[in-house]
C-alpha cells in the first residue's frame, strides 16, 4: 500500500499536467494568425469553394466556440483520432509512429551514451578537486554547455562528411532506398555522427552535477573517515562517491529528456535526418496544426514519464526514503 498511493497521486498529477499541456497547445494554436481551415486545406487552398470551407468548418467544429472545439478535439484524441497531416499527407498517428521509431534510435543512443559518459567524467573530475584532470573535464563541460548544438553538428558535418568523407552527408539511409531494407551497418553509419554530436552536447549537465556531488562527498566526514582508515582517493571515489552520485545522475538523466528532444530537433535539421524532430520543424514552418499539437502532447507525455520515473527511482532506491517494513 505505502508505495501504491504516492504512485496514484503521481499519475493523477501527470494526467492533470497533460491536460494543461493540451489546453496550452490548443490555446497557442487558436491564438496563431493561421486560419485553421487554411491549415487543414494546405496547398489545396485555392481550389476550395466557400461551401467546401463551410463543410470543413462544420465537420471539424471550427465554427463553434473555442471551449467546445477544445472538448471536441480532446474527444477525438481519446478515440485515437489525431487528425490528418497535410505536410506528409498521412494520418498524424502514422507520421508520429514512423518518425518516432527513427528518432528513438538517435534519442535512446545519445541518452544512454551521454548519461554514462557524463557520469564517468563527473566521477573522474571529482576524485581530486582542482587537479589537471578536473580542470580539463570542467572546461569541457562549460564549453559544451555554451555551444550551440546545430553549430557543432555543422562543424562535424564539415569535417567528417565533407572534408574527410567518413560519414554520409544526410538522411537515415542512402537516397532512394526504402527504410525497411537497410542493413544495421548502414543505419549505424548514418546515425554515428548525429549520435556523437548529441552525446557530446548532452553530457555537460550530468558531468557538472556528478562532479558537484563528488566534491561534496570528498570533503564530507564520510570521506575523511575512509581516508583515516587508510583508503586511497580512487577507492573512496569508487566505493562511496560513485554510490552517492549515481542516484542524482540517473534522476537528472530521466529529467533531461525534454532538453534532449530540443537537441534532437536541431540535430535532425542539420543532418536532414527524417525523424520526429524534423517533422516538428516542418509542421511549424508549414502550419501543420494537427501534427504540431499531437507532437507537443506526445513529447509532453514522454517528458512527464521521464520526470515521474526520476521521482519514483529516488524513493525506491535511497534507503533513507525507502519505507521500512
Amino acid at each position: 500500500m505505502p508505495v501504491i498511493c504516492p504512485l496514484c497521486v503521481r499519475l493523477l498529477r501527470m494526467a492533470l499536467v497533460l491536460l494543461c499541456v493540451a489546453g496550452l497547445t490548443f490555446g497557442l494554436m487558436l491564438a496563431s494568425p493561421i486560419d485553421p481551415i487554411d491549415a487543414y486545406l494546405g496547398p489545396q487552398i485555392a481550389q476550395a469553394s466557400t461551401e467546401q470551407r463551410e463543410m470543413i468548418a462544420a465537420r471539424w467544429g471550427f465554427d463553434q466556440p473555442p471551449l467546445v472545439q477544445f472538448g471536441h478535439w480532446l474527444g477525438q484524441l481519446a478515440s485515437g483520432e489525431m487528425g490528418w497531416s497535410h505536410v506528409y499527407n498521412q494520418p498524424v498517428s502514422e507520421v508520429i509512429a514512423q518518425r518516432f521509431q527513427r528518432s528513438l534510435a538517435l534519442l535512446g543512443l545519445a541518452w544512454l551514451l551521454s548519461t554514462l559518459l557524463g557520469f564517468a567524467l563527473g566521477v573522474l573530475a571529482g576524485v581530486r578537486d582542482q587537479s589537471p584532470l578536473d580542470r580539463i573535464i570542467n572546461s569541457y563541460a562549460y564549453i559544451t554547455a555554451a555551444t550551440p548544438a546545430f553549430w557543432l553538428a555543422m562543424l562535424g558535418l564539415l569535417l567528417f562528411s565533407v572534408t574527410l568523407g567518413w560519414t554520409p552527408v544526410c538522411c537515415a539511409g542512402p537516397s532512394g532506398s526504402l527504410s525497411d531494407d537497410l542493413g544495421l551497418a548502414t543505419r549505424l553509419h548514418h546515425l554515428a555522427l548525429p549520435v556523437a554530436t548529441l552525446t557530446l552536447l548532452s553530457t555537460a549537465p550530468i558531468t557538472l552535477h556528478t562532479r558537484a556531488r563528488m566534491r561534496e562527498l570528498m570533503a564530507s566526514p564520510v570521506a575523511t573517515q575512509a581516508f583515516a582508515q587508510g583508503a586511497g582517493r580512487w577507492e573512496v571515489a569508487w566505493r562511496h562517491g560513485a554510490r552517492h552520485a549515481c542516484l542524482p545522475a540517473i534522476t537528472l538523466a530521466c529529467a533531461s529528456l525534454g532538453e534532449l528532444f530540443g537537441g534532437v530537433m536541431l540535430i535532425e535539421q542539420v543532418f536532414a535526418y527524417p525523424g520526429l524532430g524534423r517533422a516538428t520543424v516542418e509542421a511549424a514552418l508549414r502550419s501543420d496544426v494537427p501534427l504540431l499539437m499531437a507532437i507537443a502532447l506526445f513529447t509532453a507525455l514522454l517528458v512527464s514519464l521521464g520526470n515521474a520515473t526520476a521521482d519514483g527511482l529516488y524513493r525506491l532506491i535511497d534507503p533513507r526514503l525507502r519505507r521500512q517494513g
Partner: protein, 271 residues
Amino acid sequence: MLQIDDLSLQLPYYASWWRRQWAEVLAGVSLDVRPGEVHAVIGASGAGKSLLAHALMGLLPAPHRQAGHLTFKGQPLTAARQRQLRGRELALIPQSLSALDPLVRSQRQVRWAAQRAGHTAARAPHTANQALAHYQLDERAQQAFPHQLSGGMARRVLTAMAHVSSAQLVIADEPSVGLDPQQRDRVLNALAALAREGKAVLLISHDLRHALPIAQRVTIMRQGRCLETAPAAAFEGDGHALTTRYAQALWRALPDNHFTSPVTQPAPHVA
C-alpha cells in the same frame, strides 16, 4: 609512542572577497602519549582539539601551513608515513556520526575498514563480525543502515571500525557527545579497555568530568595552545596541584566542586 613537539598550524581565510590570509589555529602544541595510557585533551569548542586530531592523522584540507615535529614510535611522522600508517597503526574515531556512509549497511562498512587495515578480502567479513559482536551489536544492527541506528549504536560501530585496524594509537574525537549516561559509560569503558590492551589512546573531549575516570594524564587546551599537562590525580580537592589558573578554574567550575569562579571573561577571537 607519540610525541608532539611545538606543533603549530595555520589555515587560510578570506579577509575580503579575494584577499586570502592565514589564521593561526594551533600554536606551540607539545604533548606525548604513552602505550597503555589514556591521555585526555580537554578544551572548550574552538580550542583546536579536532584540528589537532586531524593534523596527527594527516587529514587536513589541502591549503594549510604546518610546523613542528611529530614522532611516532621513535621515527618522524611525515605526511608520507601518515598515509602509510593510517588505518593500520593510527586509528581515528571521528566526532561526527555522519562519518558513517548513509547508503551502506554497518557490517559492510566495518568490513571495508578491515580490508583497508590490511585484512584479506576473505578474512575481512569474519574480522568485522567479531569486532561488531565485541561491541554488542547484534545481527539486526549489523544489517542496518546508519539512519536506523541509535546514537550509541552508531558510536559503537565507529569504535568497531577503529578496533579492526589493530592500531597502536587510537585517537577518539569527542566520543561521548550526545549520548545518555549509560551509553556514554559503555563507549568510554571501551576506550579504557583498548588502553589496557597496551594501546595508546588520545581522548579528545570538552568534558573534563567524564574524561577523568578513565584518563591517566590530562592536557588542557585553550585557543590553540597547550596550557598544562597534569596527571589525572592532580584534579582533586581545590585543584592546588594544578599550575595554571585556567585549569584550576575549569576544575573548580565542575558541579561537584561548588561551581566556584567559572571562567567568565569572553575568549578573544583566535587570530
